[in-house]
Symmetry: D2
Subunit: 312 residues, 4 copies
């Protein structure tokens, strides 16, 4: 597994050497890992490039203060929990983070649906992509789920898994070979045939499949980061994007530990009950035995309701 | 070239039969083509699904009026030109359009960079994509431009073009065959091997290449539509997305003819001169012979400056 | 109470006379009230100016369909409830509404915090505002709440209420008199003193107080409308903006009745329980008597928790 | 002129004492002034609270680099100019700034129209505003412009100016006196009448006029900051918001000097010519004498065209 070239590692190491004084608030947990590539999947990574603010910035903005705005740790913690619980989300927009992410194109296509972010993507109109494509680990090769039409079921048997991997790998290699051939380039960026100029890059790239890696700079604020994580660190999200969300959850924890705790408590581990679900809940708390047929909930909503009360 | 199945054409024809009375403003030019598929590229299309407002809505919003807000045609026209010329863009946000677009994935990836829009895309996690992929017409197969690193140069020779098309077609067909094989599906959606369940759709799709077609509902307001068109109907845009932009320009003309004229005049056919370019221009108008070396413009900016004054 | 002048009423009535055929989907409940002013507070109103789509548009977008996209009523209803319950909100962005709203400036200042909307406001740089200001009804004159620092407590006594209204009215009248005097205008827009030109409108307006009425065109999509209503139809919202939200809830019901039901069920009447609250709930359902001190909840969160279980 | 209390100045001074090491890029020009209040108008200010990135961040994002991304100064400068000239604006979204601004409410109402920003405003539902209101300097008291219905003309004569200031001051003082009376508070926050609780803050504030000061934290990216400055540092913007824009232009110069130069060159000092204007320009360059009547430009557009060629 290689996620970085030697040259890239050296550039990162060099960038980490420069340390400067600043009056801004500093998140020590993030400084520790700044610029380093945290590996994800077989060739991907997440790197923290820059950030603005920390837990105190949230508190400071909520109080519109002149100084640092923080008070006692317990008060600040209480305020952050209160803000999240009551959906007062604007103070969380006051902290910002910038990541460098490398991920398969099909992951990038899900990711970009989060519009409240800034993106600069590596351009395959302009540059030539590397021979890097995602091959799932065998334990991720699952059958189509029958219950959930957008999900995965059991893991494939060993033979079928081997066959799938062989097809994915063979096609990706061939597609990349032909990509280079159309570009009239060899693996080292040299022209293959001196008499040909090669197809335009913006056209040749269409031969690559959706498991090829792309990369971008992605910048968002803490409020929108939490929206991203709430949806993408969820068990219903596709495994491949969840792998990135899980890494970013760790980044968030290093950056804004109090907001992270509040986010776990009031979003990730929370559950919402509809009006009908609340009615059923109140009857159950009063000691009544409630059946689905006695409520206005559909079978599906009822099952979800029970799952919230009795998590597996 | 097939852009629609018979079933789809019938559904469209049926939807067009229903006509209802409304008090809202009606754009007759758009009603004419509502729901119809306007073909783009080899399998793509643009369909107008819905719209809100027309030129009068722009005028009405600019005047915050109680009634329809329009006055004499010449006054309304003057107001619309004034608004666009002076970048008073909020009244153009008051008209909205919704399109159904089918396009290659690499085009969708450029398109989605326009964030101020609403999108619902056909889900390949949930459904199986059709065997439809883009093959450029031979006259679109151009070499990599040397001047412009993101563009195209001359058209490929016939032999090289044939070879490129053969590679693109062969790889797309093979990728799709293997996609079905991994899904354990035949072309008609039947299970191939009764003993296998097939790989999850969200995984199998990664074997498709970027020239496969996807589709989405795309909704935006007139202001953001013009931003899209200004960038994507531009000669520097990649041909394939420009093909869509050109079709949408025609749609815009049917929808809001006065705004369309103003947009051509003050955006598409307009040119911006920097402070240094204006200084040079004033000297030239005073009869002076000006050279690049006598200005603070770079060689590249100077060439762009001359091109604005002497369009080819 | 006057919310419209005779001229305005006539313009509205005239606009309502024009009925045209359209192929677009039509929401009959909204057509009924289109353009009419629904009064709010003492001089305000909400008018529906235009709309795009209906419940079927939500369904159609979720299915990315070629025709109208609807199936059986029960299936469409189930889909809409499912989408809202699972925060799949993009299909709700496919329906759009445009309102003309007249409201006190302090209400407009809360309203505009909802950024995902398009606004054209009546310009007091350009035009002269009318002598129209908000005076609360006596039963709305409440003391500062002690528990909730952003809320209201009991209603003022009659004497204190009369004194407050007298101050509010006297100051607003005087401010407006002086506004006209600075503009050198009388009530009918005639120049007062022929030798003076009058202060610029953009300056004179600063003498008006925050209870003066302004008006704007406001356009948003159904998803963002629900966000607005969730926050502004809430008991914690200030009464004056809630009065508008309540009227718009009725508008929503006429426009998209199925989405409205789902919104009541899964947002307005729903409640979210944090991870700690869920733990307590599970213990209570198991028959245990739970005290705040046995949980990790703060006193405040605990009280909110009990209030969700036992609404007053 | 007082823009800060002693306590506030002390809090700011204390915050400036803390200096920490960071690996992030540091803009030395901004560090110099961080947290300090730059006075604007009679009681307002702009304070830089935080920032992320600098000119190098723009370059780094445009190149999607692993290290700092910068090359030779001249190359970086050329790239930034190229990006701005060609409206490649996404790299400028990668730098972010956070300001604390105190301004009259009517200025805040113009400011907030820029939606692509994050805001936390001091809440008058929650807190009591200070007795601080804007009174224009006499040289800013201008008559209504006749040519430009949203602008100012000549300065008022001394007598009329004195009368206007007397009205503005008298009304603001009286409105504030009554605000306190309704709140049942004296100037020091003490209860006036022990038997009254006082009107709710969210209601009493409506008696304040639009020249009272409010304050907020405002955070935006460099791209949107430039949009703000292009519109608000423009001579057509109202003087009072322009005073803030001019101060922020200086801040921008300290923060990102290369982007600032490019912004001056390609936005502030640039001019756009419509298709018709370009045609006229080409004829003039060919030595022709062109009159408005020989073009398709309106009288107004023609005058604007000449003004671009011959700035006063």
């Amino acid at each position: 597994m290689t996620n970085l070239s030697d040259i890239q590692s050296a550039e990162i190491e060099q960038a980490r050497q420069t340390v400067m004084p600043t009056r801004r608030s500093v998140a020590e947990g993030l400084e520790e890992i700044l610029f380093q590539a945290i590996p994800v999947l077989d060739h991907g990574f997440v790197r923290v490039i820059d950030y603005m603010g920390d837990d105190a910035a949230v508190v400071q903005a909520a109080r519109v203060s002149y100084g640092r705005g923080t008070r006692k740790v317990s008060e600040d913690r209480g305020l952050i929990h209160y803000l999240l619980r009551h959906w007062h989300t604007t103070p969380f927009e006051m902290a910002e983070i910038k990541l460098h992410v490398k991920m398969p194109i099909f992951v990038a296509r899900q990711w970009i649906r989060h519009r409240m972010a800034n993106i600069n993507e590596y351009s395959a109109r302009y540059s030539i992509l590397d021979r890097e494509f995602y091959l799932p680990a065998p334990e991720q090769l699952a059958v189509q789920s029958v219950q959930n039409r957008q999900g995965r079921g059991d893991v494939l048997g060993a033979d079928e898994a081997a066959q799938v991997l062989s097809l994915l790998k063979g096609d990706a290699e061939r597609n990349y070979d032909h990509y280079l051939e159309m570009l009239n380039h060899d693996e080292n960026g040299e022209r293959l045939d001196q008499d040909r100029q090669g197809l335009a890059r913006e056209l040749a790239r269409m031969n690559l499949s959706l498991n090829f890696y792309t990369q971008w700079y992605w910048k968002t604020d803490l409020h929108n980061l939490m929206n991203f994580l709430r949806l993408r660190a969820d068990p219903h999200a596709q495994y491949e994007i969840r792998a990135y969300a899980d890494v970013i959850l760790d980044v968030m924890k290093k950056w804004v530990p109090t907001s992270y705790d509040a986010f776990r408590e009031h979003r990730l581990e929370a559950a919402t009950f509809s009006g009908e679900a609340l009615k059923a809940l109140r009857r159950m708390l009063a000691g009544e035995q409630v059946e689905q047929s006695q409520t206005a909930m559909s079978k599906r909503e009822w099952d979800e309701f029970l799952a919230k009360l009795n998590p597996s």
